[in-house]
Amino acid sequence: MRVHVELNGVPQYLDVAPGEPLLSLLRRVGLKSVKEGCDAGDCGACTVLVDGRAVRSCLMVAPQVQGRKVTTLEGLGTVDDLHPLQEAFLETGAVQCGFCTPGMILVAHELLSRNGDPTADEVRAAISGNLCRCTGYVKIVDAILLAARWKREGKWR
């Protein structure tokens, strides 16, 4: 079947199998930032934004995104033009192996769209569904708080 979806800002038609997980569709079309860590909704590595809300793409089937906007990390910034969240993750040392990073940044993106001035506890709650095994979460929390400050200071595009 064919779904119509706005993928990282570009409207397009995609052929999908009815039961195909969204995770598999996104990786199949080359969006490799979407990572598979558990295929059970437990680790958050496959997080993407659907209509601005963070979802686990391993738990959705591709036809569910019919008519919706899907954003993956590829839709935020590029190596030459980093999104402030990406900049903040690098600035604070929040990227270690980088495998959980796409999901973390997208969850942070959703948090900051709802709450521009989160406390550290609110950040921890927001990322609690995204597992990281490299950091102690310290620098990830720092990164999100830093990006929030930049946003309040008008430094986001």
Binding site: G30, L31, K32, S33, V34, K35, E36, G37, C38, D39, A40, D42, C43, A45, T72, L73, E74, L76, G77, T78, V79, L82, Q86, E87, F89, L90, T92, G93, V95, Q96, C97, G98, F99, C100, T101, P102, I105, A120, V123, R124, A125, I127, S128, G129, N130, L131, C132, R133, C134, T135, G136, Y137, V138, K139, I140, V141
Partner: protein, 775 residues
């Protein structure tokens, strides 16, 4: 935070990770992010039995599933015993594994493998392989394995290097120093602690994965999420009877390893399937397979007996280990050895020592290398025993450590007695800031105000505890790393290292080490790593080795390149080398002030006069393994009604020498502590009576989320390691050794109950409270 930083050039600066932007943008840099046309999916058929003989295996129906391209099992591959441990040569682990065997030894063991056009076809084929098993009695605990008449797990005649296969003992050690029994018996104060660690899993977020394919010349390429590309090449060649020169192993970015990828697990299977089909094959473990069929920490019971005089001076120290290596003996001997070799030197005031133990086979998942590598298990028991000794003596636990710990300029006989599966080498500790770690950590946690207060808030009682640890920096006499550094025609540099960045930041650190020597910004050094075709040899990323061992190789190469640069400059400027200095991308004469940029020098050497490639390759072997040191402090709250333990604060103060990249070093320390807190509070694999793991997923096997842990305070306490590159020692493992004993000791401070079995679940805390008469 870092206590007093010494500003240099590139070293000591938390520069941007060289791979950071690509990772932060989700670029396709991991193993499975590469799509090759015509790639087949490889899958493994796991054993449903803990211990069974394969009587018949029939693949005829499976082979008829559309899309199936190959099915491999014991009848279709050569039988060559090997070890999956990715270690140096000679390999210290027993050769007790074959690619596919006629016998299975744990639930999840490899029976057969399928390559098919799609995942669905592969799964369907697995379901249609008919296997007739003769089920054998299974051994599900180390005690049962050692019982007289226990079933023999490795009865195959071609296994090599097993200590005593008849008795299921994979490895054994017994190292006495002095007369521990007599001195213990005569010691005025004695304590004993027996601590147990269960099956736990590394839980790297990226599962084990590999793509096997052929290059244009028909050579086999393995793109693998591995910590040991050079060992993979050597081992796969031997198992499959290939010329190693026909194999290339590439490690792209990897999503965490922590020791579990110091194992050669999927690579030979994927390679065999690729050879059988002449097609690219990708294999990835599911999360369940990662838990069951990759590797785990060695479950252990470690018993420590301490004898001291009434001032707290240790006189005798006996450590006994019973290690469960699971179905195969990968890392069995070396992890066992490290339980003692990484712990006993810390308290070198005890002159009478004995370290003894066994690693035994069971019909359970296979234990292997895991960050800490035995030291984690050893420190749990040792530091709980030290806490008990302090209590017995009425002495502050910090003071007891101060009176007994090793110091700079001192040694321990253990360094020489216990090595990596053989004897070690004598070693003097040259740098040790443990006294400062102890003091600074105590100040941060508020030790003096909080210790022994048993402050209560409703059902919650608060307490503080501490522990110390050391580790090493590489493996003495075994590890070797090499680096090649080239200057390009534009004066920029290209650094080629076999070293394996696992997300640890080592590519960045190695660039910093070179940049510091050559006086250039880090971004002038392009790093290319971990490719057996294009980078020089490195034993790999394990044993806390990369900064120290690979870093020293890089430093040597950079020193050589520096001298070549100065030679070219001297010729160009008509100056003597002795008058030249290299800094800020320029060579300048101190005498005349004449200067050249590195760009000028690169251009001149490449195109103008005495044309040559400015380049050097250097190697470093590890004559000693300087230990980092750390002091850990934590505050816990214990709910006396429910047994729930909350870690309120955790402070880790570590001496890793000079931190090349302080932010990265903090990240290593924080991450290791986080895993240690997981070990202490929640991580344990559970097994049914059939030997099947029943919580092989993140829903039931809980690793800490951001809500489960406090803000971890990592403090870098500098020392200067004279043998380290720019004064550096290791940092990646030590942090995992602290949380188990520090949290156990804090629980004791809070409620007077000793927790000796990890994890400290509510049930176990309540049981310990009852046992202590406090429940």
């Amino acid at each position: 935070m870092a206590v007093e930083t010494r500003r240099r050039g590139a070293v000591g600066q938390s520069v941007r990770k060289v791979d950071g932007p690509a990772l932060a943008c989700g670029k396709p840099v991991f193993t499975l992010d590469l799509d090759l046309p015509g790639t087949l999916v490889g899958k493994i058929l796991p054993s449903p039995h803990a211990h069974a003989q394969i009587v018949v295996i029939d693949t005829s129906e499976a082979g008829r599933v559309p899309g199936v391209r190959a099915i491999l099992h014991h009848g279709s591959v050569p039988r060559i015993p090997y070890t999956t441990a990715g270690q140096g040569w000679p390999e210290p682990s027993p050769y007790d594994t074959v690619l596919f065997d006629t016998k299975v030894r744990f639930v999840g063991d490899r029976v057969a493998a399928v390559a098919a056009e799609t995942e669905d076809a592969a799964e369907e084929a697995l379901g249609k392989i008919r296997v007739e098993y003769k089920v054998l009695p299974a051994v599900l605990s180390p005690e049962d394995a050692l019982a007289p008449g226990a079933p023999m797990i490795h009865d195959e005649p071609d296994a090599d290097g097993i200590y005593d296969a008849q008795r299921n003992i994979a490895a054994a050690v017994d190292i006495p120093v002095g007369d521990v029994a007599a001195v213990l018996a005569a010691s005025p104060v004695r304590v004993e602690a027996a601590c147990e660690i269960p099956y736990s899993q590394h839980s790297a977020i990226e599962p084990h994965c590999v793509i096997a394919y052929f290059d244009d010349a028909g050579r086999l390429v393995l793109r693998s999420s591995t910590q040991v590309p050079f060992h993979v090449r050597r081992i796969v060649a031997r198992i499959l009877g290939l010329d190693p020169a026909r194999i290339r192993v590439v490690k792209p970015r990897i999503g965490g390893g922590f020791g579990s990828k110091q194992e050669v697990i999927l690579e030979p299977v994927a390679a065999a399937l690729a050879l059988a089909t002449k097609r690219p094959v990708r294999m990835a473990y599911t999360r369940e397979e990662v838990f069951v069929a990759s590797r785990t920490r060695h479950p252990m019971r470690v018993t420590v007996k301490l004898g001291a005089d009434r001032t707290g001076a240790l006189q005798a120290l006996d450590m006994e280990v019973l290690s469960n290596t699971g179905a195969y003996g990968t890392h069995a001997l070396t992890v066992l050895s490290n339980v003692g070799s990484k712990t006993l030197p810390l308290y070198n005031k005890a002159k009478h020592l004995r370290f003894h133990g066994k690693a035994v086979y069971t019909n359970l998942p296979v234990a292997g290398a895991y960050r800490g590598y035995g030291a984690t298990q050893g420190y749990f028991a040792l530091e709980v025993a030290m806490d008990a000794l302090a209590a017995e003596l009425g002495l502050d636990p910090i003071e007891l450590r101060v009176r007994n710990h090793i110091q700079a300029g001192e040694t321990s006989p253990i360094f020489e007695k216990i090595g990596e599966g053989r004897e070690g080498k004598p070693q003097v500790v040259r740098s040790c800031a443990l006294p400062q770690c102890l003091r600074i950590g105590a100040e941060h946690i508020g030790w003096r105000e909080k210790r022994g207060q048993r402050h209560c808030d409703g059902p919650w009682t608060y307490g503080v505890g501490m522990a110390c640890a050391m580790q090493g920096s590489g493996i003495t006499g075994v590890d070797m790393a090499a680096a090649t550094l080239l200057m390009q025609d534009d004066g920029s540099l290209r650094l080629l290292v076999g070293a394996t960045d696992l997300g640890t930041g080592s590519d960045t650190i190695l660039a910093q080490i070179a940049a510091e020597e050559l006086g250039v910004p880090v971004d002038r050094v392009l790093v290319y790593s971990s490719d057996t075709d294009f980078t020089p040899f490195d034993t790999g990323a394990y044993a806390s080795s990369t900064t120290y061992v690979s870093g020293n190789a890089v430093l040597r190469a950079a020193q050589d390149v520096r001298s070549q640069i100065l030679d070219v400059a001297a010729g160009a400027l008509g100056e003597r080398v002795a008058d030249l200095e290299l800094a800020d991308g320029m060579v300048r004469s101190r005498r005349t002030g004449k200067a050249l940029t590195l760009k000028d020098i690169g251009h001149r050497a490449t195109y103008v006069v005495d044309q040559k490639q400015i380049a050097a390759t250097a190697s470093f072997t590890c004559p000693e393994s300087p230990p980092p040191f750390a002091a850990f402090y934590c505050e816990v709250a214990v709910d006396r009604e429910t047994g729930v333990v909350r870690v309120e604060r955790f402070v880790a103060a570590a001496d890793c020498g000079v931190a090349i990249h302080p932010q990265g070093a903090e990240g290593q320390l924080e991450g290791a502590v986080l895993q240690g807190i997981g070990h202490a509070l929640c991580e344990e694999m559970w097994f049914a009576r059939s030997g099947r793991c029943v919580n092989a997923g993140f829903f039931d096997y809980k690793i800490p989320s951001a809500l489960d842990v406090p803000h971890i305070e990592a403090i870098l306490v500098p020392s200067e390691e004279p043998t380290g590159p720019w004064g550096a020692k290791s940092i990646s493992e030590i942090g995992i050794n602290g949380p188990l004993p520090a949290i156990a000791n804090a629980i004791y401070d809070a409620v007077g109950a000793r927790l000796v079995r990890a994890p400290f679940t509510p049930e176990r805390v309540l049981a310990a409270l009852r046992a202590a008469g406090r429940g």
